[in-house]
């Protein structure tokens, strides 16, 4: 039997060999101006069609993040001095947005006794994640009645209604005299079907393998955002929330088409203004953004999109812009890199080549092919060496 050291060395050699097989991406070049202005600004709006009308009031707003001392039992206060703090929020996110609370604490003296930490979430009934970071090797976290976990776990239920309830830091060693640890709690707004009244909305099933589900509802059943508030757009109810450092908006346009948009780098007010101007032809599904957008989104204004998809993964949202022949991929955290990469060498395909697909484009930068079939199924392929090869692969799939 090999030792773990040998196993890790072998695995390292393997991973280097495997990495050598990865096709080189274009070496970064200076971003061009023009259509890339939006990319350089790190801003994108992603719209996904097919969201059922779901717009009813959600759960009560969770309010401002608390910042008082954590309610530790008196016996543990000598073990851990900790404060729940509001995290720094990037300038792009409106002030009222708070995604999670972080625990910053200094372990003054670590004992073998478990210390209970009860996150001061203001409302009960929330699901949440707890994750510890930078724990010293001597420490681990536990939850009541279970084995220690190394970094994170998920739990839900009435939070701290009868403490000790859910969250526990177990100090398993007494050797560390001082250390710091971070614990983050992501409160989930609610399960979608918990507060979406029957007959008003539904949750779609899991996507089939290899097919990208354009619906954001799956993500919505659990996400780490916080409801900002219910709004109205053109007289119709809309819901605005946060996701990571992005804003999400669900609404129905003037044609009655339910829409979902996600953006980062703009305020909630800007987001609503953008949404007011967006309509989608229910037949052609062409997006029309008719009114001026915030300055940083001028590119989108000038070039109506022809195809917009969400990959289903939080890291590869994409959309295409006609005319300028630019397609942009983005990530929930709005990486400039992703924009520049996906925006390179994008060409739109003849729809007839793909069985009269509704829209399709290919990026030579990564061999990416996106197309939406006439049946409304969005397909994503990766790794095709040429546009022609991608089209052939797509044909073979059909």
């Amino acid at each position: 039997m090999s030792s773990i050291d040998e196993k890790l060395r072998e695995a390292s050699r393997d991973v280097h060999r495997a990495a050598e097989t990865i096709v080189d991406r274009p070496i970064p070049q200076r971003l061009s101006r023009g259509p890339m202005i939006a990319a350089a600004a790190g801003i994108a709006v992603v719209i996904v069609m097919g969201v059922p009308a779901l717009l009813t009031r959600g759960p009560a707003d969770s309010g401002a993040a608390p910042s008082s001392l954590i309610p530790l039992d008196a016996a543990e206060t000598s073990v851990l001095a900790a404060t729940w703090v509001e995290p720094e929020v990037s300038a792009e996110v409106p002030d009222e947005v708070r995604e999670y609370w972080a625990l910053q604490g200094t372990l003054l003296s670590v004992g073998s006794e478990a210390g209970w930490l009860c996150p001061p979430l203001p409302n009960t009934g929330y699901s949440f994640f707890v994750e510890a970071s930078d724990l010293p090797p001597e420490l681990s976290i536990e939850r009541p009645g279970s084995t220690p976990v190394e970094s994170s776990f998920r739990d839900s239920g009435p939070v701290c209604s009868q403490p000790p309830s859910l969250v526990l830091l177990a100090f398993t060693d007494s050797t560390q005299s001082e250390a710091t640890a971070g614990v983050s709690v992501w409160p989930s707004i609610a399960r979608f079907d918990d507060w979406c009244p029957p007959d008003s909305c539904s949750v779609e099933g899991s996507p089939e393998e290899g097919i990208v589900d354009p619906s954001p509802l799956e993500d919505f059943t659990f996400f780490s955002g916080r409801l900002v508030e219910d709004e109205t757009i053109n007289g119709q109810p809309a819901r605005l929330s946060t996701y990571q450092d992005s804003l999400q908006l669900w609404w129905v346009d003037s044609n009655g088409v339910p829409l979902y948009a996600k953006a980062s780098g703009i305020t909630a007010e800007q987001m609503l203004k953008v949404a007011e101007s967006i309509t989608i032809d229910p037949t052609t599904q062409v997006v029309d953004i008719s009114t001026p957008l915030p300055a940083d989104l001028q590119v989108v204004e000038q070039t109506p999109s022809v195809g917009i998809w969400q990959s289903g993964l939080s890291r590869t949202d994409v959309y295409g812009i006609d005319g300028a022949s630019v397609a942009i991929g983005t990530r929930f955290d709005s990486s400039e890199t992703a924009y520049s990469r996906y925006a390179a060498n994008v060409t739109f395909l003849e729809l007839a080549d793909l069985g009269n697909a509704k829209a399709a484009w290919f990026s030579e930068g990564g061999g990416f092919l996106f197309f939406e079939t006439a049946e409304g199924v969005t397909v994503y392929l990766e790794g095709a060496p040429t546009k022609e090869a991608a089209v052939q692969i797509a044909k073979d799939l059909r």
Binding site: E131, D134, D219
Partner: protein, 184 residues
């Protein structure tokens, strides 16, 4: 060190603070061609996702490119990029863990595909590494994949050599148990 908010701020700025500027400026293209695969390997060992590894490596290299006038003159620009990769890989994992359903979907749609040609045994090993605590996983990846010495890792992670040694020892112990192999 604790979370600093929701934005997963890369370590680019902090990584620049401590490194002396002693080198001439190599062309970024040359640096990119030499280091990229190693960065992908490092990112994969921490993220266990091929797609994430490519993105993490590319992002870190892009970060270096944007400030190449500074980074390129560092004594070890590759170490700077590794630090960005190592920290952002953890941010990636943290987000992924939070997005339970998205991860479940990724499992069927290919988002967590391993690197091509990576043997199953190595896939398993790196999956277990990704389950380690942040520091343990980083130490393992930097030590084995990037071939850094313990003092180098200590400097990169802003901790003592003893702490690095402790993390490595505990990581090996945990991995040996989980992978059913001998610790030594």
């Amino acid at each position: 060190m604790t979370y600093q908010g929701t934005s997963d701020v890369p370590v680019e700025d902090s990584a620049l603070e401590d490194d002396p500027v002693v080198r001439g400026l190599e062309s970024f293209e040359s640096f990119y061609r030499r280091e990229r695969h190693g960065m992908v390997a490092l990112a994969y060992s921490l993220s266990r996702s091929r797609l994430a590894a490519e993105d993490l490596a590319q992002e870190a290299l892009m970060a270096a490119y944007r400030r190449w006038e500074e980074v390129g003159r560092l004594e070890q620009p590759a170490a700077w990029v590794r630090k960005v990769v190592a920290n952002n890989a953890w941010s990636f994992l943290r987000r992924a863990r939070a997005e339970v359903r998205a991860v479940a979907r990724a499992a069927v749609s290919g988002g967590w595909r391993p690197l091509p040609l990576l043997p199953d045994s190595s896939v398993e090993t790196w999956e277990e590494v990704a389950r380690l605590s942040r520091r343990q996983a980083q130490v393992v990846a930097l030590y084995y994949v990037s071939g850094m010495s313990m003092p180098e890792i200590a400097e990169l992670l802003d901790c003592s050599k003893e702490t690095v040694n402790t993390h490595l020892r505990r990581a090996r112990s945990t991995l040996a148990r989980r992978l059913g192999t001998e610790e030594r």
